[in-house]
Amino acid sequence: MTAPLLSVKNLTIDYIGETNDFRAVDNVSFDVAPGEVFGLAGESGCGKSTIAFAISRLHKPPALIRKESAILLDGRDVLDLNQKDLADFRWREVAMVFQSAMNSLNPVLRIEQQFYDVLKTHKRITRAQARDRTAEMLKLVDISPDRMRDYPHQFSGGMRQRIVIAICLALDPRLIVMDEPTTALDVVVQREILQRINELRRKLGFAVLFITHDLGLMVQFCDRIGIMLGGKLVEQGTADAIYRTPEHDYTKKLWASFPSLHGGVLR
């Protein structure tokens, strides 16, 4: 395996309480190779979103990352970045798509303006250049560039989600963190979007950290998968291994809780 793009090492995160602390993430370590799709699966409260937030340094008190933890992107520890480096790091190195990302567009700004805001914050760029880049990115996600003067409400939920993904890709990040990116969407739209992301990562070479509770979807999309339970990474392996030869009891039980389209449960 080539040197990992992202290397999470002994990550431990506590939510500090008045009387006692809650360990949300307990000594989690995993690597994501360049261009790889790595999936984190688990139920609500297992700590998967806390990890996503920590990678973008978006965690806030009462979340506390314990000392021995490290999050290395290309060997540089994200946890040591100062404010200026952090501003450079976000979007350019790591972009994030949230669960209800389609609602994270500003309703009173045209799509074009929202691209411009991101682009001008992170690089020297003229309006005309930004417009060209916007057109290029919209085309990538199958949205006609002549719609860049429209407002978010003029698009469907799936299109808005694709616009958010296009904004995330505009600065050529090397890692995109996607926290349940399609949970609020219908299966057909979900499939269209994830298929598109899959094509784009083959073309552009970015890596994806993909978070969901839907194991079936995860196996379709991911190269490798980690299964989380109560803050711990209890199993990790290739998508095929997690599907065909799961080792941990919890992974087996998770599979047994998905009804199959063809009758019975998936395994």
Binding site: R191, G216, V219, K253, P259, L261, H262
Partner: protein
């Protein structure tokens, strides 16, 4: 859907239009289906397809714009107040959001006591407490622990079981469950679905199961109706519809269901956005022509 007992509840060519003029939305168009004792009908479709509108018409929350709602063969709108009260008892609902559908200021026991006081005049006094315990045991909750608790002290799955117990308290004949597991964690979903199936079998209930998840529809329901843009586009025996889909929208929906056996990289597994848009466009047109694909399996023209 043939060769069964007389239907308890029937929607007969029911339409529902919201607003008027060119901006009117035809949320349900000429919907017909029946619910039978001891059988489940799954209504599947994406958001905005009209499945919840169907549930609300069945619950008499919405008055249909056209068509009739029949209860044991008689139109409900012509019924007197006594029959309506009986209808309200007989048709109970389980809501999507287990966090919003219980009153945070009342105990679980209180939630179950209300329908007993309202609909079960045969049960009074000490028998009420006994019935509450029996109901909780029925949904596999420990009455000693759960009855005195408040909703916030329970997990989502437990709350949904309380919702089921509350629906059962009225001794219903039909249960309308609108996405009862979509807000629950995957590992507790199956437990709730199993409980619903068990109740259906043991108490001979008619179940209307509204969902966007076609795999759980197969797990729960004998019959299925696939909705798109306010119309039922394909319906019949669940296995037949899923294994041998005839309508382009049903095919599209099935091709997009997450399946761990098919990788996104597989060129044969691609769902084309252009084709998907074309299928949606064709499926949205009003169609009167209906074809029988095979016994107990029907499809609307597209």
């Amino acid at each position: 859907m043939t060769g069964m007992s007389a239907p308890i509840l029937t929607l007969d060519k029911v339409s529902k239009t919201f607003g008027n003029g060119p901006a009117a939305v035809r949320a349900a168009r000429s919907i017909s289906f029946s619910l039978h004792a001891g059988r489940a009908l799954a209504v599947v479709g994406e958001s905005g397809s009209g499945k919840t509108t169907c549930a609300r018409i069945a619950m008499r929350e919405y008055e249909p714009s056209e068509g009739r709602l029949l209860y044991k063969g008689k139109p409900v709108d012509a019924a007197g107040s006594k029959e309506i009260a009986d209808y309200r008892r007989s048709v109970q609902m389980i809501f999507q959001d287990p966090f919003a559908s219980l009153n945070p200021a009342h105990t679980i026991a209180y939630h179950l006591k209300r329908p007993l006081m309202l609909h079960r005049s045969d049960i009074r006094g000490a028998a009420v407490d006994e019935e509450i315990k029996a109901l909780l045991r029925q949904v596999k909750l420990d009455p000693e622990i759960v009855a005195p608790k408040y909703p916030h002290e329970l997990s989502g799955g437990q709350r949904q079981r309380v919702n089921i117990a509350r629906a059962l308290a009225a001794k219903p004949e039909v249960i309308v469950a609108d996405e009862p597991t979509s807000m629950l964690d995957v590992s507790v979903r199956l437990g709730v679905l199993n409980l619903l199936s068990e109740m259906k079998r043991e108490m001979n209930l008619g179940l209307l199961y509204i969902t966007h998840d076609i795999a759980t529809a197969r797990y729960v329901a004998e019959d299925i109706a696939v909705m798109y843009a306010g119309q039922i586009v394909e319906w019949g025996n669940t296995g037949k519809v899923i294994d041998n889909p005839a309508h382009p929208y049903t095919k599209l929906l099935l091709s997009a269901v997450p399946d761990p056996d098919i990788r996104f990289d597989d060129p044969n597994a691609q769902v084309s956005s252009a084709e998907a848009d074309e299928t949606r466009r064709r499926s949205a047109a009003t169609q009167e022509t209906i074809r029988e694909v095979e016994p107990d399996h029907f499809v609307r023209a597209a």
